[in-house]
Symmetry: C2
Subunit: 266 residues, 2 copies
């Protein structure tokens, strides 16, 4: 048993979709979440900056004495994980490694699509993880940077979101993928629209598989919290109006949460 909290960081508010999945399977764990809302998004930035911001975020959580750091941000998981592993002693869990197997199992044709931020797609991290699991898998990927802004504005069902989504998905559908990895924390909020646009696709939410992998890890290492009614703490580097508004969208039904604002650059 280990009552220390689980640390989760993300470039902004999107990682709360991962927190939700974690609390669904691990309701007796305490979460410390850090969202870098002062510098979001990370997915359009260089590898160097993503590595720097990730390191600052992970260090903040380590100082809070978390038992594990979950890198909820796909961009950081794709680009900064090896570097973080070298620097930190605390166990680390990204959203990719534990999800590749689930993605391959979800696909019958073994033709898998990946949709993510520019940095995530450019990194090739998903392709590598999928090919490691099954060298014969066919992987087709597309950077879909505009979807983050559309979700942040709450345009989940807007005709222009549907139009843009269709445009992004079109080259993947031409390649006859049968499963799509939602390789950005914002995309789970677009599931109903994606299903409308492309009803036959199996959608893989890495937040879900990461939560399951986390549960397995805590059990194996005997690190379960077993805390009744845990109190969570969410830190944000900017508690702007947009953060507040999106908190309602991303964290609805999350209870016992304390919100704090911090300066990560200090």
């Amino acid at each position: 048993m280990d009552k220390r909290p689980i640390g989760v960081f993300d470039s902004g508010i999107g990682g709360l979709t991962v927190v939700k999945e974690i609390l669904r399977v691990l309701p007796e764990e305490r979460i410390i979440y850090l969202g870098d809302t002062a510098r979001v998004p990370w997915g359009t930035r260089s590898k160097k900056i993503i590595a720097l911001f990730s390191q600052q975020a992970a260090s903040f959580l380590v100082e809070k004495r978390v038992k594990i750091v979950v890198v909820a941000c796909h961009t950081a998981s794709s680009v900064a994980l090896p570097d973080l592993r070298k620097r930190l002693k605390t166990p680390l869990l990204g959203v990719i490694e534990s999800s590749a197997k689930a993605a391959i199992e979800a696909s019958k044709s073994k033709r898998i699509g990946i949709m993510g931020t520019s940095a995530t797609i450019r990194s090739g991290a998903w392709e590598m993880a999928l090919r490691k699991e099954d060298p014969k898998v066919k992987v087709f990927s597309i950077a879909a940077p505009l979807l983050v802004s559309l979700v942040e504005e709450g345009w989940f069902n807007h005709p222009s979101t549907a139009m843009i989504l269709k445009e992004y998905l079109s080259p993947l559908l031409k390649k006859k993928i049968d499963a799509l990895i939602l390789a950005c924390t914002h995309y789970p909020l677009l599931v109903s629209l994606i299903k409308k646009v492309s009803p036959d696709l199996v959608l893989v939410n890495p937040g879900r598989t990461t939560a399951l992998a986390l549960r397995q890890f805590l059990k194996k290492e005997n690190l379960q919290g077993k805390i009744k009614q845990p109190l969570h703490c969410f830190y944000f580097t900017d508690f702007s109006l947009q953060t507040k508004r999106n908190l309602e969208r991303f964290a609805d039904r999350l209870k016992n949460v304390k919100i704090k604002e911090i300066d990560l650059e200090k």
Copy 2:
């Protein structure tokens, strides 16, 4: 005569639309530009964070011994200018103050629309500046946050950009505005699309009027550079692939430019 450079800062790359206007009317001045591409966009953030980032950017330019700091970013001009004025001795020029008069002159009906980022619109800075110039003017404003991302992706003429633009403009057009202030540095790249969507609107580009005000100021204070073939320097906090790609879009036809990357947080 004063050969010191003109400092210009912006949240990212958009401010280069202002630099272009400056160099059009002041070809014998040297520009030091700072784009905070590691933390762009600012328009969705809180006043506190915008003030902090603006202060860091302005201080960087002051250390480079500029003769004036031009705040090219509309968000910073709207939110952070009074605070900057208190802290800095170097002259400051925002994009609003010098443009209100031009906007009023551009409108026959004195019904003026403003389109900008969320922070710019929320600040009410444009309304205040316009009413100071003409208390009877009718002002109608709309936050159009998605346009920045669409421009950054280069979707200037995409059908979804047109659809989103129409949606943003619709409530302003219903109010029968006859002039529209492009209150974000990215919007000048959408001029041809806006003219297609609404051909009768007079478009006001504050970058242009700011450049004219700057020329007037330098002349009045006898601070003109009179430098033949000046060499400009553009600093970016992240020289990502997106920065590079957008540099071509925003800075085409700018010559004699040296590019450098810096860390503003240090």
